[in-house]
Symmetry: C2
Subunit: 321 residues, 2 copies
């Protein structure tokens, strides 16, 4: 059984391998060729903590994943990170344990970054360069780095906007340090109007992005809303969009950005699975005037895919050594 | 993070520590002081395999468990065991991974053995000695060894009965090798009539034990029925019993021995949780004439309890070295 800690995972990680695996997982998910049972939840009220267990398998791949993610929100006071977790891989042909990836949540952050980047690349207008990232946390970094890595032929121009200007400056400086083109903005309306692609990464419970700010041709990727009550996009913006895309309709309509869309007259069957766009089964953006929105809530099969990609990259590295 | 393989787990395993932990888990479960979310299931049709993921926590204990159990039934043809699995422990106060117990299913067999033994000890007539075990597989061994270990002051007399007389002889010889008193029987009716405690451990789909064979004072522990359609005890035997005990009523009534009892006029609220008997909240057996039945389908909190017991025993061993 392979046992890798976070830095070992990072050492052998290959972003392009992982991106391809996650694209395949989205397509398989859209086509029903996956297993993704309901998420298991445990709550620890006394310790202000919780645990989610996700399991997933892409049919035809060699392994399935059991991902454990914990959040214990009093940990920082003890000098510990609030998030932790690991991915366990098992063989889908013998049931034997294959690997424990003690990533402390890093693979989840990375698959979320890659998922957003895959959606932004697929749905942004041809040749887009101007990308606004709303929010200054971990996903600000992951979304920017992953998107630029998936579009190496074109230098993107990132604008970072958050409630805390100092945090935006810090994130911007980090991205510049990685060689990305980045600046900050304090006027969210102006920044939204100027952007071709908007990526929202916040835990907002009130809509941040208003309908009238979004100009024709804009694509929005929303990765922040991951539980009921969170909402980054104005409901009338969702209602007016030309194309609604999601990773899993059941999740987006339950606790994602599209949870309120049905009340505004959108039908659930109008929401297109990202996998159908990636496979070409749906044409995606029709022209450079459409407003498109992708809402990603996260799939267990992304966890399975990225975990297998780690093992694949590790094997390649080993055999080339 | 502690990482123990099967033999390391067996080396530090302390049966009495584990039995106490499991008793506490039964009591906590009966009193509602546990978390045990629905079991997650994955199926792998092409490989003739499946996977169950159970999660559990006994409130107030330091860790929760995520147990993965796989069964791939074509493995023996490849020279591999059909069952595999592991228990993962996480801190209930910080969410950090505590241990991976790569037990290959041994801890599940042991907690099933201990659970049955705890029930048999609690519900058998005072001073019982004659124990019939029906079935000659792994649980035949675990039930006998655990029950004798929990009643060290009294030499029990085990009778092993199974469809395959040669397998019964093998099991019997193994138990004798462990210093237990054991013999075999081929006439199940006579053996049942003679026994004070009957332990059924088979995957039978037709009732094995008939009502008229069971004499007053007999206690029956059924551990075999673990999925819908399995049944070891005649429905009219269950209907006529003086006391019905289970680990979890929802499971026993869904896919255990009591699944058909309601149709025979037994009420679900007549089924007493084993934990209430262990705690003294329910008096258990009233006299030496009652026929009592315990149906055990297995609890995730047993897995949590036995895993913590392994860590406790290991710590004790380490500190005494």
């Amino acid at each position: 059984m392979i046992d890798l800690n976070k830095s070992q995972i990072q050492d052998c990680f290959d972003l392009q391998t992982a991106a391809r695996a996650i694209e395949n997982a989205y397509i398989a998910s859209a086509e029903g060729r996956v297993q993704a049972p309901p998420v298991t939840y445990l709550g620890f009220e006394d310790a202000n903590g919780d645990c989610h267990v996700k399991t997933g398998h892409v049919q035809g791949t060699e392994g399935f994943v059991i991902k454990v993610a914990t959040g214990f929100y009093d940990n920082p006071a003890k000098g510990l990170p609030s998030s932790n977790g690991l991915n366990l891989m098992f063989s889908a042909t013998t049931g034997a344990p294959l690997a424990i990836l003690r990533d402390e949540g890093w693979l989840t952050d990375m698959r979320t970054g890659l998922g957003g980047a895959i959606a932004s690349r697929a749905l942004g207008v041809d040749g887009f360069k101007g990308v606004l990232i709303v929010g200054t946390g971990l996903q600000c970094r992951f979304q920017a780095r992953c998107l630029q890595a998936l579009i190496p032929e074109r230098k993107l121009s990132f604008t970072i906007c958050g409630r805390d200007a100092a945090k935006a400056e810090t994130a911007c400086a980090e991205l510049q340090g990685d060689g990305l083109s980045a600046n900050t903005a304090t006027d969210l309306e102006a920044a939204t109007r100027a952007a071709q692609v908007v990526i929202t990464t916040t835990p907002a419970k009130m809509p941040l992005i208003q309908r009238e700010w979004v100009t024709p041709g804009t694509h929005i990727t929303a990765v922040g809303a991951d539980s009921p009550g969170k909402q980054e996009l104005a409901t009338d913006l969702v209602a007016a969009a030309d194309l609604l895309v999601c990773d899993l309709a059941a999740q987006s309509l339950h606790h994602g950005e599209f949870a309120r869309a049905e009340a505004e007259g959108r039908r659930a069957d109008e929401v297109i699975a990202l996998g159908h766009i990636l496979s070409g089964a749906h044409p995606g953006r029709a022209d450079n005037k459409q407003i498109t929105i992708a809402d990603l809530t996260g799939l267990a099969v992304q966890d399975a895919a990225i975990s297998l990609a780690v093992l694949e990259a590790r094997n390649t590295e080993h055999s080339s050594n």
